[in-house]
């Protein structure tokens, strides 16, 4: 029997450019590749020599959907390098901004990028006729996330207001009140996301044990910040030690660096967070999680969408709580702490919408960037995505090309990849 090659040249409804190649020979899946064809941009290199404030402004250009996550992580790493302690107000506003990013990104992914697959549409806009309510509510939820980023960060994408030391300007109370209103209105939409995702028919073929990694949240709350990383296999290590646990290497068959944990592919993202930190959820999100826990297969990445939906409920509710806390937390104090650059290195790992985001930055005494290492969630997930593509191909190889392609696409999309985001990316 001859070799059958199935190729998806341009993976749709993901951020960035990538494709899938599967080779089937004698009914055996010989090769499963996740090809990333984005051009190299080399942020870590060309930003060397730039002053810290420009570096933290340019790094987020790595990725648009998680630009706030990038910016806030770069800022935290820089502040660690300089030994800056932001005020409590600043920390609260930052977390709210970060949650805005989570809400926007998850809503976008669940409603516009992933859902059409399961409902049999090429895109969300074409769903409007039959699923108008879902689409408009999804957009509304997404807008809520965007409005948080706009009012706190200055805009929906690339938030120039978030600075090392704090913010150029803190939001006004009117802004916060307005956001609270939006959030309250959006909560039912987030719950609708849970309902929708829970009712989807998820193919079982990609079930295979998964090692999950997530940040161990700071302060015992389900949040995006933390000082330790823990795994579903019971490991725990401080963020500064990531290098000795996560090994990155260049693979000859791929355009991007891959990374392994203890020599194995691993997963990061919403599903991993739920697996590891789900017990910290509160309120309605907790209820939903308790209720659905039994049905979630943590060893099948396609459940990631459901995990994102549950997180949506949490992030919306928690954002309301942060706003209430901010309103009662007076006086707010200065928006910006004085920044005194010094030579040093800082590492921050946070939970971006798609999972662990590593920033490791070093500066000289004038505050110029001398070294940087950025690892994004998609780069981390790349190895496991390829593993799962292979599994899916195995399970669905009996299907004709078109249908097989459709199923293959489900896999990377479930991980919500952010291809332009995979910083260490290079052409062969």
């Amino acid at each position: 029997m001859s070799k059958r090659i199935v190729r998806v040249d341009h993976l749709a409804r993901v951020e960035g450019r990538g494709g899938i190649t599967v080779e089937i020979e004698q009914d055996q899946v010989k090769l499963a590749q996740f090809n990333l064809t984005e051009g190299p941009r080399l942020f870590e290199a060309f930003l060397r020599g730039r002053p810290y404030h420009e570096a933290v402004a340019i790094f987020p250009r790595i990725c648009s959907i998680c630009s706030a996550a990038h910016r806030l992580t770069a800022i935290e790493a820089t502040e660690k390098a300089f030994g800056i302690e932001p005020t409590a107000t600043v920390n609260m506003v930052r977390e709210l901004l970060y949650f805005g990013d989570q809400i926007e990104s998850h809503a976008l992914h669940v409603f516009l990028l992933a859902l059409p697959d399961f409902l049999g549409y090429p895109d969300a806009l074409q769903m409007v006729d039959k699923f108008g309510v879902e689409v408009t509510k999804g957009l509304m939820l997404k807008k809520t996330g965007n409005e948080i980023m706009r009012l706190l960060g200055s805009r929906e994408i690339h938030q120039e207001n978030a600075l090392v030391g704090g913010f150029g300007k803190l939001p006004s109370k009117e802004d916060l009140n307005y956001l609270r209103g939006l959030l309250v209105e959006s909560l039912p939409y987030a719950e609708l996301a849970v309902q929708l995702c829970a009712s989807l028919n998820i193919p079982p073929h990609t079930h295979q044990p998964i090692t999950h990694l997530a940040v161990k949240p700071r302060g015992g709350r389900y949040t995006v910040y933390g000082d330790y990383i823990h795994s579903s296999e019971g490991d725990e290590f401080p963020v500064e030690d990531y290098r000795s646990h996560i090994v990155e290497f260049v693979v000859p068959h791929s355009y991007a660096k891959q990374s392994l944990f203890k020599g194995k592919p691993y997963m990061v993202g919403a599903l991993s967070r739920l697996k590891l930190n789900g017990h910290l959820l509160t309120g309605k999100a907790k209820e939903h999680f308790e209720q659905l826990k039994g049905t979630i297969d943590f060893d099948n990445a396609l459940y990631n969408n459901l995990a994102q939906a549950i997180e949506l409920v949490y992030f919306v509710e928690e954002s309301i709580r942060i706003i209430d806390a901010l309103m009662n937390h007076e006086p707010w104090g200065d928006s910006l702490a004085p920044v005194q650059p010094r030579a040093g290195r800082g590492v921050s790992i946070t939970e971006a919408p798609r999972g662990l985001l590593v920033y490791n930055v070093a500066y000289d005494e004038q505050g110029k960037l001398v070294d940087a290492d950025v690892i994004t969630p998609t780069a981390m997930n790349q190895a496991i995505i390829e593993r799962d593509i292979k599994l899916m191909a195995e399970g669905m190889k009996h299907l004709p090309d078109d249908e097989l392609k459709f199923h293959l696409e489900l896999v990377p999309r479930a991980y919500d990849p952010c291809i332009s985001c995979s910083v260490h990316l290079v052409r062969k």
Partner: protein, 261 residues
């Protein structure tokens, strides 16, 4: 006058996808504008892409960084009446254009180490109009949401958008902000940057970093450099600052002005 739907393509070269995402961010307006627009190509949002059509307008995001980028740009050009450089990467080559001012091989090694043996046909990020003819520019990193609507509605009315030709400072004043150059001596590039963002950053007490790119109709970067020099910013910092979003811009005028002080 009768009106017909516009055939639109949204293409992506090398960038962060933010320009396209901001199109999706139109949210309520997105549903309205698609009444008059057929999105024939939009990989970020749909699986149903029809590259084999004649486009009224193609928005192209991203810088030209790989040979595939160049091919894609040419393909879109051939099939489109108007081509729009969408966002700073396409307009000016993007922040990644900064590689052009440094040694690319070294940068590659910095990121990938020595174990990577790859061959780079060309890896420098160039503006779109360096490889194809561009009819319009939508500035910004990312462009403003209202720019998309203005652009599409003017085309639908049978005309075309007016270009932005005023600097960020103008909008900074319209907003009633204090000036960060005067007050804090910070290197705000508002005076030489294309307006349209309503002076977003100075409105947040942050110096403009020039994400909408340098003004095209008039180049006052030499005067800007003199002002920065007066604020005791060293020459290399001045040049770097101006290259942040437009590394491809010819700064010889600036260098000359600085030499003569």
């Amino acid at each position: 006058m009768e009106r017909r739907k516009l055939k639109v393509g949204i293409w992506a070269l090398t960038g962060c996808y933010g320009c396209q995402l901001n199109f999706v961010n139109l949210e309520d307006d997105l549903l309205k504008i698609v009444q008059n627009v057929d999105l024939e190509v939009f990989y970020m949002a749909t699986r149903a892409n029809n590259e084999e059509t004649n486009f009224d307008v193609s928005f192209i995001e991203g810088s030209v960084t790989t040979p595939e980028d160049e091919e894609e740009a040419k393909k879109a050009r051939e099939r489109s009446k108007y081509v729009v450089a969408l966002g700073n990467c396409a307009v000016n080559g993007g922040v990644q254009g900064f590689n052009s001012t440094q040694d690319f091989e070294t940068n590659i090694r910095t990121v990938y180490g020595d174990d990577a043996h790859f061959h780079l046909p060309f890896g420098l990020s160039k503006p779109l109009d360096s490889v194809i003819k561009v009819d319009f520019y939508l500035y910004g990193c990312p462009p403003e949401k209202k720019d998309y609507i203005y652009f599409l509605t003017t085309l639908l009315l049978g005309t075309w958008p007016e270009d932005w030709t005023i600097p960020v400072c103008a909008e900074c004043r319209l907003k009633g902000n204090p000036c960060v150059i005067i007050e804090r001596g910070e290197p705000c590039v508002g005076p030489i940057t294309v307006a349209g963002c309503e002076a977003r950053c100075p409105s947040h007490n942050v110096a403009c970093i020039g994400c909408r790119g340098p003004l095209k109709v008039v180049d006052n970067s030499d005067a800007m450099a003199l002002t920065f020099k007066g604020k005791e910013l060293p020459t290399d910092r001045i040049l770097d600052r101006m290259r942040l979003f437009s590394a491809y811009k010819d700064l010889s005028k600036v260098e000359e002005a600085l030499r003569n002080v």
